[in-house]
């Protein structure tokens, strides 16, 4: 399966298993989504389970909070992560805090899917990686898969989870892995082991990171598209990097991170999002807090520049294998 098919399969499985799962968002119903992720779901489950929504992110998330309070398990889509901002109040002030402020009287077991990330000439409003705006909010979970297998397992786990989950989907990975070499043809998921996705129900647990590539020289902490870029950088530099795909960005799997950094003694954090106050800052802080006496070198961050995401300068902006590779070398030489 592609990541698109895997995500669709996750919703199909959950809609079949649980009558309380409903799927809606802009162009999600009849048309099947601008990225085809919900294709066929309305035909299979009916308009009361999968339907189109007005162009109102605040309305989509706000109604989902109300449905969650009723007892449904809504899975809603924001067409691009760049457009979640009108729903900020409902996410931060409502979904995230409902359980806390009502002492468990009401809950918001909702999943908010958002295609994110760049590398597609999406320009300023079709490329952003806003995960740090969510990880700073207590009460929500932020998740991002890097391959079809994890995408399905993590989405099912997110839907089943009783906390509100922000589910970020790197649209650059929808049809195949992407290592940052934009000049080379895309290899489809059908030619990759992680494109082998079981048809039925399975989960990838939240708060569990994956050692994507075992190594002994240094630890790369990353997620989403940058998992593939980091692997490419390791291959091209010959550095035996241990690449950890966080999968759950927050709350995260700290033991896997700490164990790896204590083993390698070096760490590079890689993400597409802008650098300052990005999630990488939290990762660097956690590593120095928990691994200080094991560190042989300063922890580096490779991130998007602190600029809006440009159109023409896409590949100067996107942290590709060259930039990541240079950071790996600097960290090894430090």
């Amino acid at each position: 399966m592609t990541m698109i098919q895997a995500l669709r399969s996750a919703m199909d499985v959950m809609m079949a298993r649980d009558d309380n799962v409903v799927v809606y968002g802009q162009d999600v119903g009849y048309f099947g989504g601008v990225f085809r992720v919900t294709e066929g779901l309305q035909a299979k489950y009916g308009k009361s389970r999968c339907f189109d929504a007005p162009i109102s992110e605040g309305g989509i998330v706000g109604t989902a909070v109300g449905m969650g309070a009723y007892g449904l398990r809504p899975v809603v889509e924001i067409q691009f992560a760049d457009y979640f901002y009108p729903a900020s109040d409902q996410i931060v002030s409502e979904a995230a805090r409902l359980r806390y402020r009502s002492a468990g009287d009401f809950t918001a077991p909702i999943t908010i899917r958002m295609p994110c990330g760049g590398g597609i000439y999406g320009g300023q409003t079709h490329s952003q990686s806003p995960e740090a705006l969510f990880t700073h909010v207590c009460g929500i979970r932020t998740v991002m898969p890097s391959n079809p297998y994890d995408a399905k397992g993590l989405l099912i786990a997110s839907i089943e989870n009783d906390d509100p989950v922000i589910f970020l989907e790197p649209k650059r990975l929808y049809n195949g892995p992407f290592d940052g070499h934009h000049d080379r043809p895309v290899v489809p998921w059908s030619q990759h082991a992680l494109g082998n996705v079981p048809e039925g129900h399975y989960t990838v647990p939240l708060e569990s990171a994956a050692v994507f590539r075992p190594g002994k020289d240094l630890t790369v902490l990353t997620y989403g598209t940058m998992v593939w870029v980091s692997e490419c950088a390791a291959r091209e530099t010959g550095i035996d990097a241990e690449i950890i795909d966080l999968r759950s960005i927050w709350p995260l799997d700290l033991p896997t991170i700490v164990e790896s950094v204590k083993k390698t003694g070096r760490c590079v954090v890689v993400h597409e999002a802008t650098k300052t106050s990005g999630f990488g800052a939290e990762l660097v802080s956690l590593v120095q807090e928990h691994c200080f006496y094991h560190l042989e070198a300063p922890v580096e961050r490779v991130a998007g520049w602190d600029t809006p995401y440009p159109h023409a300068q896409e590949w100067a902006y996107f942290p590709g294998p060259t930039r990541v590779g240079a950071a790996l070398k600097r960290t090894m030489e430090a």
Binding site: T63, G66, M67, A69, Y70, L72, Q90, P251
Partner: protein
């Protein structure tokens, strides 16, 4: 050279400021009984006139008139009167408790007691209200919500059902159909629509009731709620409590000048009513009409309740700085308690003596509840929920980082 004059920015002002008298003619008050009552399956289009007039039942003499006179037992009216009185006495008592520093903050609903009280009589068990912070009458009109528990919330003491996490008055009572109150305005208005959509998705028979003030209608979620309610024909009552004031801002600054909030509903394809919010019988009749409409799949209703915020916005507010001191006394729709009392006496179902007796009983009841709640502690004496409870319920299961932070606090 241009012949047109220089453009000027229009900034609405209330006619009455401190030291002046408000001109209430902007309310366009219709006589009691004058406004027609359409069938519950009416189209939104056919409610256009209702959105610009004012549905009233009780006239100046307290007599019920016109097509909106509800069929309601005098015993239920007496129950409603008592609930309104209880709400007002409760508010007055909690205001004193705040001044005595037994609670940090309070918000009265003085003058707006009829709206929540009569509305709740028109709803059924299982329906869900999404209130603002000024619908305490929805709770105080119920028999199954102990006042002691509400006061424990206000005092953030060891018996506070919300474990000291919420500012006073931000109650949550799922079992009473009272959604958790949020400090963020208007957010609950769209959530009410979502809840109603869920009820429709499941083929349920329960309806939702969303609440918002005149000022908060300017928030995006107000417009979002109307759009979604209309698009999905959600079984929801959308209540706009127009008490003329949003803290210091007159309702004209929220967009009420030369129009009504009910008119917004019609524009969004929603059947809309504008109702005398201080007329218990009109509130009950209109609520019942909207509830029947929703429950029979005829869709949402928007109701603008025209009332007046009799008290300060909150215990942190001094209205004498922005409006006339005697404004409420001059408000043309009067006092909801006095009006229902007059009506009940007029039909021989109440008396001054009964009223005085009820007043005394309710004062004693509230005082006793406060004393009991105080025995469980107040913010002042430090008998508050444990600091360990601060870390619970952020997530369903406590993640590792919160466990570590709780350990760091040593609790």
């Amino acid at each position: 050279m241009s012949q047109t004059p220089a453009l000027r920015l229009h900034v609405p002002e209330p006619s009455g400021r401190p030291g002046c008298t408000t001109d209430f003619s902007y309310l366009h008050v219709s006589p009691a009984g004058a406004v027609r009552k359409p069938p519950v399956d009416t189209s939104h289009f056919d409610t256009n006139d209702l959105a610009y007039s004012l549905i009233r039942v009780l006239d100046e003499d307290g007599q019920a008139a016109g097509p909106w006179v509800p069929q309601i037992e005098p015993s239920r009216l007496r129950k409603g009167l008592r609930a309104m009185m209880k709400t007002r006495i409760f508010d007055a008592r909690m205001l004193i408790a705040q001044r005595q520093k037994k609670l940090s903050f309070y918000m009265q609903s003085l003058g707006e007691e009829a709206i929540g009280t009569a509305h709740s009589l028109a709803l059924q068990q299982g329906d869900m209200c999404f209130p603002t912070y000024r619908q305490q009458s929805l709770l105080l009109s119920r028999d199954d919500i102990p006042m002691v528990e509400m006061i424990c919330q206000l005092m953030s003491n060891v018996r506070d059902p919300l474990k000291g996490r919420q500012l006073p008055v931000m109650y949550s009572y799922k079992r009473a159909g009272f959604f958790s109150i949020s400090g963020n305005l208007a957010t609950q208005f769209i959530q009410a629509v979502g809840w109603a959509m869920a009820s429709a998705i499941k083929g349920d028979t329960r309806i939702a009731s969303g609440w918002i003030g005149d000022g908060a209608t300017a928030e995006a979620d107000f417009h979002t709620a109307l759009t979604f309610a209309h698009v999905y024909r959600a079984p929801v009552i959308l209540n706009v409590v127009n008490n003329q004031w949003a803290i210091s801002s007159f309702q004209a600054i929220a967009g009420g000048e030369a129009t009504t909030f009910a008119a917004r509903g019609v524009g969004c394809g929603i059947a809309s009513l504008r109702v005398d919010g201080n007329d218990f019988l009109a509130v009950y009749a209109a609520s019942q009409w909207a509830a029947e409409r929703a429950r029979n799949n005829h869709g949402p209703t928007l109701i603008e309740w025209v009332t007046y915020r009799g008290g300060p916005h909150s215990t942190s507010d001094d209205p004498s700085k922005y409006r006339p001191a005697d404004d409420w006394k001059r408000f043309p729709l009067g006092d909801p308690i006095a009006r229902l009392k007059q009506h009940l006496i007029g039909i021989g179902e109440w008396s001054d003596a009964q009223h005085d007796q009820a007043q005394a009983e309710l004062e004693a009841e509230v005082l006793a509840a406060q004393k009991e709640a105080e025995s469980y502690g107040t913010l002042l004496d430090g008998h508050i929920p444990s600091a360990a409870a601060m870390f619970d319920d952020v997530y369903k299961d406590m993640p590792e980082h919160l466990r570590m932070q709780r350990q760091q606090l040593g609790v």
